[in-house]
């Protein structure tokens, strides 16, 4: 498996990272270099091996106590708020140019 420039653009889109075209070649090279070392895992027989050791499954607990108290208001650290809501710019699907096919996912 080899990472292509298109793969990097695709995962950057999924991860909501805005990369410049100039960053792509180096990232392709680095990711291929890293993933090349992962190929050794393909040789391991993992048939029948559970994905989590039976005694280390993530434990659950009753959601019985209130959350920790915040000692500062959200307004103290939020970039923009109004009437108790976080403010964000509109989606491009709401009337602006350049809406992409997966833009709805961002909503």
């Amino acid at each position: 498996m080899s990472v292509t420039p298109e793969d990097v653009r695709h995962v950057a889109t999924l991860a909501r990272l805005g990369l410049s075209e100039g960053q792509i070649p180096a990232l392709v090279q680095q990711l291929n270099g890293i993933l090349g070392h992962m190929d050794v895992l393909q040789q391991v027989d993992v048939s029948g091996v559970p994905l989590t050791p039976p005694d280390q499954a993530a434990p659950l607990r009753p959601d019985a106590r209130p959350a920790d108290v915040l000692l500062r208001s959200r307004e103290a650290f939020a970039p923009a708020m109004r009437d108790g809501f976080f403010l964000v710019p509109r989606l491009t699907t709401h009337g602006a140019q350049g809406a992409s096919a997966d833009e709805g996912d961002a909503a």
Binding site: R16, V44, V46, V49, P50, P79, T92
Partner: protein
């Protein structure tokens, strides 16, 4: 060493001593701290750490100092809640004097990935202090504090402890609450402790341990006494079986580091322990497994930095551009690379080949540890790192940097406790020896480490 012997040097190192040391010329310019609280003073609490200055890695939430994770994306952010480990230190009377530098979001092994510049190794300023908790390690190694908190995802306490010639401990996963520790890879993250001595590190860990409702992965178990009692008799480790896993001593290991480990193992035998050759066959797979699972979890955990609720925002005329602009401007190169890598291994078509397979191999690694410990081995002893501290800028290839974690990532994957302590010098630079123990058996690890510390001379390699 008895508990009063632990507390005396700690108690003598007051906040005033910390600032006095901090202001000395050989400490200035290390860039170990990102934020300081010069007004911090003893609270009057009569706890086990009353009046003792401590330093906190900048990915642990504090109420009065910023918590930036050494990232532009959290520049100036002050948490509205406090990490449980920090609260427990303060409840014991400790005084938080500052937040320490780190690789951005704990992603790195050298503290060169900080948005606020690298930390220098106090023992040799041309070299890295290790990472990602390099600032906390440098704060202890330079003598500003004797106790500091770091965090571990793949060795980020033990490796800098080894590079700086101090003690560093990663507890059992679940021993210490992760509440308020900014998440990198949640199944691997731990809060860890740096100490000037084994006993001081043990006291620090004992103080922050325990169940916490706010972390569902914290273990609901009693916290044992961890500070080792004074060794008595000529063979204080009689009955202890220490495993020497052959995969941690490959043919290409620096012979001087191998010689130091052998000298330490001979000392353990002299102290009464039995040393037994053991095997952990999947060790070579640990770095590939780690660098799939950790970035995968990171890609999810760091999705929260989107400019909406906190942190840096790049203004834009639509939501998508705001997300992309805020994240691209806020994250550094290594964080960007790991988010991309993690997103790739979780994406359709690659999930089974990479992430799912890595999880299965992680289970094999965990089972091998369990098998060795079930065979009657109480502890494992290995080198902490394959080299002493490397030079700033020396490792430019990402995977080459990742390989510096080769002896430490296994403990995080298996969730077992582990620690590093100084065992010798190579060209004047410290070398760390690592103990690993079964889940929740930190006390045995500290007992052996303290006996070794008390009897092993730290000398230059002769191999």
């Amino acid at each position: 060493m008895s508990q009063p012997d632990v507390k005396t040097p700690l108690a003598q190192h007051t906040v005033a001593h910390a600032w006095s040391r901090f202001d000395e010329a050989d400490v200035q310019g290390l860039n170990a701290f990102l934020a300081l609280d010069r007004d911090a003073a003893a609270s009057g609490v009569e706890g086990t750490l009353a009046g003792i200055p401590v330093a906190i890695k900048d990915n642990l939430a504090t109420l009065t100092l910023p918590t930036t994770c050494a990232s532009r994306v959290l520049e100036g952010y002050v948490s509205p809640f406090e990490a449980t480990a920090v609260r427990k230190l303060r409840d014991a009377g400790a005084v938080v004097i500052g937040k320490t530098n780190m690789d951005e979001f704990a992603m790195g092994s050298s503290t060169e990935n900080s948005a606020y510049g690298p930390t220098l190794n106090p023992l040799d300023r041309s070299r890295v202090p290790g990472g990602s908790s390099g600032g906390s390690a440098a704060a202890v190694a330079s003598g500003v504090v004797r106790l500091a908190l770091g965090s571990e995802t793949g060795g980020s306490v033990r490796q800098p402890a080894a590079f700086c010639g101090i003690v560093g401990v990663k507890p059992t996963y679940g021993r210490v609450s992760r509440y308020g520790l900014v998440a990198y890879a949640s199944s691997l993250d731990n809060v860890g402790v740096f100490g000037a001595t084994v006993a001081e590190a043990a006291l620090g860990l004992e103080t922050i341990s325990g169940h916490d409702h706010f972390d569902s992965t914290s273990a609901d178990l009693p916290v044992p006494s961890m500070v080792p009692a004074a060794a008595s008799g000529e063979r204080p480790l009689a009955g202890l079986v220490v495993g020497k896993p052959r995969e941690y001593f490959p043919d290409n290991l620096d012979p001087r580091i191998a010689a130091h480990c052998e000298r330490a193992l001979q000392q353990l035998i002299a102290l009464g322990a039995e040393v037994r050759d053991v095997s952990l066959p999947s060790t070579d797979l640990a770095v590939p497994v780690y660098y799939i699972i950790a970035p995968a979890e990171a890609s999810s955990n760091l999705a929260r930095y989107d400019g909406v609720r906190y942190g840096a925002r790049v203004e834009a005329d639509n939501l998508r551009s705001m997300y992309e602009g805020s994240r691209s401007k806020g994250f550094g190169e290594e964080v960007t690379r790991r988010i991309l890598l993690g997103t790739y291994v979780l994406s359709a078509g690659y999930y089974d080949a990479y992430y799912k397979r890595a999880q299965a191999v992680r289970t094999l690694i965990t089972q091998e540890f369990a098998s060795v410990f079930a065979s009657g081995v109480h502890l494992l002893f290995t080198p902490t790192t394959p080299t002493p501290a490397f030079r700033l800028g020396e490792l430019s290839d990402p995977y080459e940097m990742y390989l510096s974690d080769i002896f430490t990532v296994t403990a995080n994957l298996a969730g077992v406790p582990a620690m590093s302590q100084p065992i010798g010098l190579v060209d004047g630079l410290p070398v760390g020896g690592q103990f690993m123990a079964p889940h929740f058996d930190e006390p045995t690890m500290f007992r052996a480490a303290a006996a070794l510390e008390a009897s092993l001379s730290i000398e230059e390699a002769t191999a």
